[in-house]
Symmetry: C2
Subunit: 116 residues, 2 copies
């Protein structure tokens, strides 16, 4: 890869690090980390999500009990002010990342689109 | 997303579009497109790949016959000078994209890494 390309990526990385969306995400992340019970609840929620996703990807059966446990944990987490702030911040960050990717991948989109 | 972030992404997009890897990919893509039999062979190869990937993701059975057909097509394609040049160019482009993504995603990697 040419030196230039790296330079531009580094510039974008720096801008991302200083963006409102990232700073807000970092702030709320730190808040959750500083609150032991919130952190526990959030870790538990993430673990359940990851486990279910893996089962789904492996084509494994998900039991009714697991679905209910996941729903219950999701409800708990949504009622927790700090955690729901974190989840909103994550969603905003992920929308930004998607937008950036769309911009950067335009040349490839155009190329592959023209192949059809 | 702040205006700045978009600007940096656009700069990177422009640099990607002018990179050796992208220009080479585009050149070989056009070569394959201009060669009707190469294009047919390549489209066929891609279709088989996509179909098998989808079956795999859906947890569907892949028959021995399908595996053999995929292998045969892959061999044919690798022996075709222009198509194999295209596949190499795609691989190089995809390595560059991965590197760029690693750079851009560093802030998030750091943040999530610190959460453990």
């Amino acid at each position: 890869m040419g030196v230039n390309l790296y330079d531009y990526a580094n510039e974008l990385e720096k801008a991302l690090r200083e963006s409102d969306e990232f700073l807000e995400l970092k702030k709320v992340y730190d808040e959750v980390n500083a609150d032991e019970s919130a952190k526990k609840m959030f870790d538990n929620f993430r673990n359940i999500q990851v486990t279910l996703q893996q089962k789904q990807m492996n084509g494994e059966q998900i039991t009714q009990e697991e679905v209910e446990q996941a729903q219950k944990t999701a409800q708990l987490v949504q009622q927790h002010a700090t955690i729901s702030k974190l989840m909103e911040a994550e969603q905003r960050m992920s929308m930004v990342i998607n937008e950036l990717n769309k911009v950067i991948m335009k040349p490839l989109e155009e190329l592959y689109g023209s192949m059809q």
